[in-house]
């Protein structure tokens, strides 16, 4: 309260604390601090296990095609790596948009990986192995992705509203159920005898245009990339400029208030989760039938969790997710090359993502402390009563 009063008081005077406390700035500064802290901790880990952090960070970039490697095999180059990077960046972006929409509605969709697997599996089985020409197969695959993911999401939203089942528990249960059931079918009916994964999807049905040549380098153009970028604009528009989007945000910030205002809460919850699931489904088909062409049985993609980190880092804004998923994909995608060039286990990528998530979770606190400090600074010259009010919650 004091903060608001004082902010009006000297609106034009800029103080350094505003960088963190002011809502105009902290959308950028807090993620930046998060990233800096994460890189710092990651470098410390590298030093602790006796590796050079500079070499490690560089090889993350090299593995993602953002920095030239020393040697390339013939007809391959930085662009090959870059487009491969974009191939996994696109599903990550779509998945994180799914997390964002659910979170705007006050829900936490950690069933992204299960929804991805379900839609990827069904699209592979029904269309991926069929003889349909690519002009029909590719749209059908996208349709299956949207439908399957959307249905699972809607079901979770319905269970939440109708039966009061916490979405974290129900989505986790679905994750395991989907993983075992698809694993059973892949092992039993669709397994490749040699690799023990599902048989490869036909190239014509894959959501990527392979064997293109750009500046003498072989690249595969991921069709997920335009889809993901269009999705960013659509979701941005939906959340900020439509009635349904506004209702979802209202439910997310205060469900009871929304109900009093006449918003149909149940419909809003189901809608938010359905859209979240649709995006997860799209992520699933662009990953399992685009970046990869096969499914490893009984393995849930770590992208379900990574996308949560992306959404938090991107401040729950669709456009922020573009930058955040770019960053996290660098760690995830570059980890394999980093591992081979420095000999550090590639699981370090997940550790870095985890640390990033940890600092993102404290982002609200940084903002809170900054705003309190600012309030205190402006209150100091005035009466004591206000000061006590501002200090009421000081316990660290």
């Amino acid at each position: 309260m004091t903060g608001q009063k004082e902010a009006n008081h000297d609106k034009n005077a800029f103080r350094p604390i505003d960088l963190l406390a002011d809502d105009r700035w902290n959308k950028i500064t807090i993620p930046l601090i998060t990233i800096l802290l994460t890189v710092l901790v990651a470098s410390l880990i590298m030093i602790l296990i006796g590796r050079s952090p500079v070499v490690a960070m560089k090889s993350f970039l090299q593995g993602s095609g953002l920095w030239p490697k020393a040697v390339y095999s013939p007809s391959k180059g930085m662009l090959t790596d870059l487009f491969s990077f974009l191939g996994i960046f696109s599903p990550m972006l779509l998945a994180s948009l799914g997390v964002v929409v659910a979170m705007k509605g006050g829900m936490f969709n950690i069933g992204i990986s299960g929804q991805m697997l379900a839609s990827g599996f069904l699209a592979t089985v029904f269309i991926g192995y069929s003889d349909l020409p690519s002009t029909i197969a590719r749209p059908l695959i996208l349709l299956i992705g949207i439908l399957v993911g959307g249905l699972f999401g809607a079901l979770v939203g319905y269970l939440k509203y109708r039966f009061n089942i916490h979405e974290v528990v129900s989505t986790i249960m679905f994750n395991y159920i989907i993983s075992y059931i698809t694993g059973f079918f892949i092992n039993g009916y669709y397994a490749d005898m040699i690799t023990r994964t599902s048989r490869a999807v036909r190239t014509a049905a894959r959501l990527q245009i392979s064997d293109l040549t750009l500046m003498g380098q072989k690249i595969s153009f991921p069709l997920g990339l335009p889809i993901a970028l269009i999705a960013v604009f659509l979701i941005q528009f939906f959340i900020n400029r439509t009635v349904s989007g506004f209702e979802i945000r209202m439910i997310g910030s205060n469900r009871i208030c929304a109900q009093y205002a006449g918003v149909k809460v149940g419909r809003g919850l189901v809608r938010a989760m359905a859209i979240s699931g649709m995006l997860a489904g799209l992520a699933g088909v662009t990953m399992y039938l685009g970046y990869y062409n096969t499914i490893v049985p009984k393995e849930l993609s770590s992208m379900g969790y990574d996308s949560i980190a992306v959404a938090l880092l991107g401040n729950l804004s669709p456009s922020g997710c573009i930058f955040a998923s770019f960053l996290i994909t660098i760690f995830q995608k570059g980890a394999v090359y980093m591992s081979s060039s420095t000999g550090v286990a590639k699981e370090i990528a997940s550790v870095i993502t985890g640390i990033l998530l940890l600092f993102s979770a404290t982002g609200m606190y940084i903002k809170y402390v900054a705003q309190r400090t600012r309030a205190k600074q402006s209150v100091l010259p005035s009466s004591n009563g206000n000061n006590q009010n501002g200090n009421g919650g000081n316990r660290i």
Binding site: I49, F108, I110, L159, F163, N164, I165, H166, V168, V169, S170, I172, M173, F174, N175, Y176, I177, Y180, I181, G183, F184, N187, G188, K298, Y305, I308, A309, L312, A345, E347, I348, S350, V351, T353, G354, I355, L357, L358, A361, T362, M364, Y365, Y368, G393, R395, I396
Partner: protein, 317 residues
């Protein structure tokens, strides 16, 4: 069908979930949402496995002491790791659902990374497993000869007496001591506890630590019994099953025990059914989904009528 095997395997699955669920009850009753059970048990199992890995050359690989050291290390490890969740949700006022998920993700990533790092430095191979033996089992002399129900006392893992001991203490402390009363009040109306002179955040912090302590025991039970190693496969979602169990149990210890036993018997019953019908091992994957599907179904029937602690998830400031 082998009824004895159903009971023996079922209890070996139910009891670790039960002790974890008690931890969850402590945390949630004190007002801290606890979705981190999965990570806490995994991290506990990891520290227990590390203790075994380091100490087994010193005191001998077959020493019976090893298992007690593993239990102790796992519980302490789980407790220390749980402080992360406590600090995030109490001091940093983080969203407790997000904090719980962060703790889970970090546990999976850290333990997997550290395991391969340690294996590489000790043996030169970057394996993600730490081999453990299978824990000893024992049979209670007279009780086990009772027909059918005697199976509850047959081939019991060495962890079971620990679980019984800690469960009894946990029950007594939660329902019969002033501390337990205050803890439960913290989850319903923390301001009344504050007004009565209690330290709300202190009590919540201790409740989360108790939760980590008990989850560590569950983790080492899983690692040291059926799988006989520590590997990323410890993250099988059992922590979430424990959460589901405490929700059906309406945040009370005794009903939760009933739910856990039901889970265990359903799981081993399904498995014994595939054996009795002579189905192939591939089909057993489908039977592995039974506990998860049951969880969902039970939640549909019971979630409406239960009463979660009123102040759960709300930071006290």
């Amino acid at each position: 069908m082998n009824v004895e095997a159903i009971i023996i395997d079922g209890m070996a699955f139910a009891l670790p979930i039960f002790i974890m669920a008690i931890g969850g009850i402590y945390s949630e009753k004190s007002g801290i949402t606890m979705l981190a059970l999965e990570g806490l048990q995994g991290f506990g199992a990891f520290t227990g496995a590390i203790a075994v890995l380091i100490l087994s050359p010193v005191i001998g690989e077959n020493s019976p002491k090893l298992i007690y050291i593993a239990i102790f290390a796992a519980m302490i490890g789980g407790m220390i790791y749980s402080m992360l969740h406590a600090v995030l949700s109490i001091h940093f006022l983080a969203n407790q659902v997000i904090s719980g998920v962060v703790v889970n993700i970090l546990a999976t990533a850290l333990t997997t990374f550290l395991t391969s790092l340690l294996n590489e430095s000790l043996t030169g191979e970057a394996s993600n497993k730490i081999q453990l033996g299978a824990a000893p089992r024992f049979t209670v002399p007279y009780l086990s000869s009772v027909p059918i129900l005697g199976a509850f006392f047959k081939d019991v893992y060495i962890f079971v007496p620990f679980i019984a001991f800690f469960a009894l203490i946990a029950w007594y402390v939660l329902y019969k001591t002033p501390y337990g009363l205050r803890l439960r009040a913290c989850g319903e109306n923390p301001y009344s506890v504050d007004a009565a002179g209690g330290n709300v955040n202190g009590i919540r912090f201790s409740a989360v630590m108790i939760c980590g302590f008990l989850s560590g025991l569950a983790g080492i039970f899983f690692a040291y019994s059926t799988s006989a190693n520590f590997s990323p496969s410890i993250y099988m979602g059992y922590g979430y099953l424990a959460i589901a169990a405490l929700i059906f149990g309406n945040w009370k210890i005794l009903p939760t025990l009933g739910v856990c036993v039901f889970f265990g018997l359903a799981k081993s019953g399904g498995y014994q059914l595939t054996l009795a019908l002579g189905l192939s091992s591939k089909v057993s994957d489908l039977f592995l989904t039974i506990p998860y599907i049951l969880t969902l179904l039970l939640l549909i029937f019971f979630s409406k009528h239960n009463h979660p602690p009123k102040a759960v998830g709300q930071p006290f400031d």
